[in-house]
């Protein structure tokens, strides 16, 4: 147009157009390039990460017998939206053998968003879980009658034998600290809670897989995302071959039944634990599935403390079994020789009386054989006073520390740190500081701590440490940390003692005599060449604890055993036969002494002990 005075306004209108779009481009740039949050929000919207659980590794005994495996269990899920008219609730309840009321309660629980935060009418909701195959069998057949109902398979632990519950451990839901410490877990996952299940959790659990699925706005699954490119398959857990001999383990548990106590067997040359029994125990099947928490609480409340693994966690004074170590340390540190003689006046001896009648004076071999208390008091006294007391008892104290170091070389007074046993107590070999606190620095002498000479008093050991002690003597001066994984040779965990092997020969001879002439003679099997030492330990909880350590055959030991029966009486009467039968079982494959087995196995020393 000609003479258009508003001609320039075309630029303003063009400018508005460009300006508006420019603002939008800036906004787009902010949304699509700078703001990073929408990517995750979009994924949260549309993607479902479905975890594929790997099957947990199995456990075998040393001979390849299956101990722990997985049992399938079933979960019934339902999609509420698909439960339309004609959905036969009565028939459904009949299939699952539940009442109409239970059905209604459960449905209300599912729909209650306070209890079930992820509730959606369009996605499968768990109706019942942890069902056995027989529970869902009839539903499975008539599943087509119930639209929206699905049966999901999961796995639980199952056990071939009712044995070794403490050793195998159990699997339970992860707790908050597991979630905080290991990003592998998500809420509701299962992990090993104790025993081998816990120690070898990393190996047994395998690797979870994931399937990335797309869901629409209603929560309906719409197929896999990017053609399954991001999916990962689950990697099954690695099986665990344990060092246990399950038949030896079961024998130990059988013999301990009705009693509180424990039995540990070790293969001396390898440190492999052949049996680790603690009684009272429970059937491992009771700590599985939906009964787990209820049963766990029952076990926790039981006054006999079945959850405690007495073989590794209970501590006792070793009593006369400690005389073997006492002999070795006194020989090594030059307080005695095998020929040194000490007099014994039987029960009239002072300051410690002898519990046996035997000739006097005695040398080392007969002292062990007869478990002569005065002999070991004299040897201990002479060891500690070898250099006199010195200024402020310094020389005496030095001797005591040397003695303590030598004793602790046997693995006493400390936990085995280089092993796969989870629950352990350290026991105790008292230090000079300990006595200083009680008596003052110069207030204690050899006579003050005389009960240590015969393994009473402040010394505390675990049955596992006792068995390891037996294995060390059997090996003649070394041990390999006791362990449970057959595929871990543990050779690097060999501990050599600073005691000459000839001293071990002298002690072994004494222990051999125990089984021929001494306290263990009634339960020896001549062909098996057993060596052993009994112990009868006074304690504040009632009758004496019966203790026995031993190994066989003497010339080439294949098995070392320690047995503790609490409040049973003489070690020779209760602990020795159990150990003897375990040795027989391991070396010959059977127990020929059927009557003895029956008598010991059926004896009830503590009426409170239950069998789970």
């Amino acid at each position: 147009m000609i003479n258009d005075q508003y001609y320039r306004r075309r630029y303003i209108i063009s400018g508005i157009t460009v300006g508006v779009v420019l603002i939008y481009v800036i906004r787009l740039f902010f949304l699509q390039v700078i703001d990073q949050s929408t990517k995750d929000q979009a994924d949260n919207n549309a993607l479902v990460r479905q975890t594929i659980y790997p099957s947990r590794g199995l456990m075998y005994d040393r001979n390849g017998e299956l101990l722990v495996f997985n049992q399938p269990i079933y979960e019934v899920t339902m999609i509420m939206r698909e439960m339309k008219e004609g959905w036969d609730t009565v028939a459904f309840c009949h299939c699952l053998k539940i009442s109409r009321e239970e059905f209604n309660t459960r449905i209300e629980e599912i729909k209650d968003r306070r209890k079930n935060r992820g509730y959606s009418r369009w996605t499968p909701q768990v109706f019942m879980s942890q069902l056995k195959k027989e529970d869902i069998a009839s539903l499975q057949e008539e599943l087509f009658l119930f639209p929206g109902v699905q049966i999901q398979k999961r796995t639980l632990r199952d056990y071939t034998y009712n044995a070794a519950a403490h050793v195998l451990g159990s699997v339970g839901e992860v707790n908050q600290s597991d979630l905080d410490n290991d990003p592998y877990y998500t809420r509701g996952d299962y992990s090993g809670r104790d025993g081998l299940e816990k120690t070898y959790e990393q190996q047994l659990r395998g690797k979870k897989g994931v399937e990335v699925l797309m869901r629409d706005v209603r929560g309906r699954i719409q197929g896999s995302y990017q053609g399954g490119e991001l999916d990962r398959t689950a990697v099954a857990g690695t099986d665990l071959y344990t060092t246990l001999d399950i038949h030896l383990q079961m024998l130990a548990e059988e013999l301990l039944s009705g009693k509180i106590g424990s039995a540990v067997a070790i293969e001396p040359k390898t440190g492999e634990i052949l049996a680790l029994a603690s009684n009272p125990a429970w059937n491992p099947k009771v700590l599985v599935g939906k009964e787990r928490s209820k049963n766990y609480t029952t076990l926790l409340k039981d006054p006999t403390k079945p959850l405690m693994n007495r073989a590794t966690q209970a501590t006792y004074s070793p009593g006369s079994t400690f005389k073997t170590i006492q002999s070795l340390v006194c020989l090594e540190q030059g307080a005695i020789t095998p020929n040194t003689l000490y007099p014994c006046s039987g029960p009239g001896s002072t300051p410690i009386k002898c519990t046996h009648h035997h000739g006097s004076p005695v040398a080392l071999d007969r002292a062990i054989e007869q478990s002569c208390n005065p002999y070991f008091w004299c040897a201990f006294r002479d060891l500690l006073q070898k250099d006199g007391y010195g200024k402020d008892n310094a020389d005496f104290r030095h001797r005591y520390e040397l003695w303590r170091d030598a004793v602790m070389e046997f693995g006493l007074g400390q936990k085995f740190t280089d092993t796969d046993l989870n629950e352990q107590s350290s026991g105790s070999i008292p230090s000079t500081k300990y006595f200083d606190r009680w008596y003052g620095k110069t207030g204690w002498k050899a006579i003050t701590i005389r009960s240590l000479s015969i393994g009473q008093g402040e010394i505390l050991v675990t049955p596992l440490q006792l068995a390891n002690q037996a294995a060390t003597i059997a090996n003649g001066g070394y041990f390999i940390s006791p362990h449970l994984n057959k595929h871990d040779s543990m050779r690097i965990h060999r501990h050599n003692l600073h005691i000459k092997s000839k001293h071990f020969d002298a002690v072994k001879e004494g222990m051999h005599r125990v089984m021929i002439y001494g306290t263990g003679r009634h339960y020896a099997v001549d062909t098996l060449h057993m060596a052993g030492k009994t112990g009868t330990v006074q304690n504040s909880h009632g009758r004496d604890h019966a203790i026995f350590i031993g190994f066989a055959p003497v010339e080439d030991p294949q098995i070392a055993v320690a047995v503790v029966v609490e409040n049973a009486g003489f070690g020779a009467t209760w602990a020795c036969p159990i150990a003897s039968m375990m040795i027989e079982q391991y070396l010959t494959g059977e127990v020929k002494r059927k009557d003895l087995r029956k008598r010991i196995g059926e004896s009830v020393l503590n009426a409170g002990v239950k069998k789970w």
């Binding site: 147009m1 508005i16 508006v20 939008y24 740039f29 699509q32 929408t38 549309a46």
Partner: protein
């Protein structure tokens, strides 16, 4: 040049516009397919789905375009007012024939398809206004000359808004303000619009926020400061005397300073104080206006007094006149309410869909948010989400740039007309496209409240596609005719 024969129309038609039109329609169709795509779907021309139906609409639209180009250009001029009358009648009867679709009474059901007469009204109103303002004896000098165009624009807008309850479609008629502006309407009208929006936002958003000192709301204070600024600016512009700017602004500052001082002992009503200052400045402006014969200042004074009333009425409009769903949309937009599950759901999901597209997009047919129906109305009003998610920043930028070129091309076409009617009509077309683009994309990006109007050529729907086609191809026909008028 003699080129009135229809056979030569292809020689004079503006091909760049046609190519851009085809580009937008085709890309829009791809995105409708993307937005309505589900995983078990295979064919893009399956007529049971929306992409297939849109294909049919596009074919119809192309035929319509060709027919419109082949009609003699004089026909449009002849039929304009008749069409306008018929259109008003149709709009009036529509609510009585219409079925209620999501609260809207604007759809007439014709067998298998629904049509929305309002989409075609824009074109006819544009023609009518262009014809009226393009008369030889018409000259836009005073506001009286705008009465008829405003009536032509306002009647259908009112019918659509009040009877058909289609606020979005009615708002589009505001686009004609740009046309009037180009023809000589005062620029202050546009500024008044900007000021009205600013005052509305300030008084709604901060109307309930109390001042930290004294009494009154942050909203009132901000509105009044804005008005004080406007008033001082115009007084000094119309009546430039020495020191006046300094004296006026200095006095305002001193008054506020005294107010703050008094506030130490007594609570000062700063809201009312600010209103008082605006009134005082208006009186001053009126005095200047009469004393020095600067009559324009009377309008400034009246405008400011009106604005005081307007700000006080905003709250009433907001709570009483607007419907609850409209109110919540504005509250969500202004960040006064967080409601990602309710009123804010669309906008939030749109933001997630677009944002998650990142720079290069997720790839065609790979958008999870739109594919899995997280964004409501994703193939109609929110179609731009699909573009953002699947084609990323690059694709969205491309689409916006194409629109800019398209609208600028329409402006170019408008400016080359010798016939005023055609020029006005061309500006109307450009303004309507600009308005749709601005409202729709602004809504999807969360910058404007949710107002349901389609994105031209992209949103699914036959009425809107055919309406825009009519709008555009009548322009192309008239444009092609400029050569014929040359002789």
């Amino acid at each position: 040049m003699r080129a009135s024969r229809s056979g030569n129309i292809w020689q004079y038609v503006d091909w760049p516009t046609i190519w851009m039109f085809l580009g937008l329609v085709f890309f829009g169709w791809l995105n409708i397919y993307g937005a309505s795509y589900t995983f078990d779907q295979t064919s893009i021309v399956d007529f049971s789905n929306r992409a297939g139906k849109q294909f049919a609409w596009i074919m119809g639209s192309l035929s319509l375009g060709i027919v419109l180009l082949l009609i003699d250009y004089k026909t449009y001029d002849v039929l304009t007012y008749i069409a306008y009358g018929l259109m008003i009648a149709l709009l009036l009867v529509t609510p009585f024939l219409a079925r209620d679709i999501k609260g809207s009474m604007s759809w007439i059901s014709l067998g298998p398809v629904n049509i929305q007469p309002a989409e075609f009204a824009k074109c006819i109103v544009a023609l009518a206004i262009a014809k009226y303002m393009g008369q030889y004896d018409y000259k836009l000098r005073t506001w009286r000359d705008l009465v008829v165009p405003f009536v032509l624009m306002g009647v259908p807008a009112l019918i659509i808004m009040v009877l058909q309850k289609e606020t979005g479609s009615a708002l589009v008629f505001a686009a004609f303000l740009l046309v009037f502006y180009r023809q000589g309407m005062s620029g202050y009208v546009l500024w008044c619009g900007v000021a009205a929006v600013a005052l509305f936002i300030l008084s709604i958003r901060f109307g309930a926020v109390p001042l930290p000192l004294g009494t009154g709301s942050v909203g009132t204070l901000c509105c009044m400061l804005l008005l004080i600024g406007i008033e001082i600016y115009f007084i000094c512009k119309e009546h430039p005397i020495r020191w006046q700017l300094l004296i006026l602004s200095g006095s305002v500052i001193v008054i506020y300073g005294i107010g703050l001082l008094i506030n130490i002992w007594w609570s000062v009503p700063f809201g009312w104080l600010s209103i008082g200052i605006v009134v005082a400045l208006s009186l001053y402006a009126a005095v200047v206006a009469f004393y020095f014969r600067r009559y324009a200042l009377i309008w400034v004074a009246l405008f400011n007094l009106a604005c005081i009333g307007y700000t006080q009425a905003c709250d009433f409009v907001f709570t009483r006149v607007l419907q609850p769903h409209q109110r919540i949309r504005i509250e969500v937009l202004l960040g006064m309410k967080e409601d990602p599950a309710g009123a804010g759901y669309n906008v939030n999901q749109a933001r997630i869909a677009i944002g998650s597209g990142r720079f290069f997009g997720k790839g065609y047919l790979n958008g999870t948010q739109t594919k899995l129906q997280f964004v409501p109305e994703q193939d109609t009003d929110f179609i731009f989400c699909t573009v953002g998610e699947e084609w990323g920043f690059v694709g969205s930028l491309g689409v916006l740039i194409l629109y800019v070129f398209f609208i600028l091309r329409l402006i170019t076409i408008a400016e080359r007309q010798r016939n005023t009617t055609t020029q006005i009509y061309a500006y109307a077309v450009a303004s309507i496209f600009l308005f749709h683009l601005m409202i729709n994309v602004g809504m999807v990006l969360g910058l404007l409240p949710v107002i349901g109007i389609p994105l031209p050529f992209f949103s699914y729907g036959g009425s809107s596609l055919w309406g825009f086609t009519m709008l555009l191809f009548i322009l192309l026909r008239l444009d092609a005719a400029r050569m014929e008028q040359l002789r």
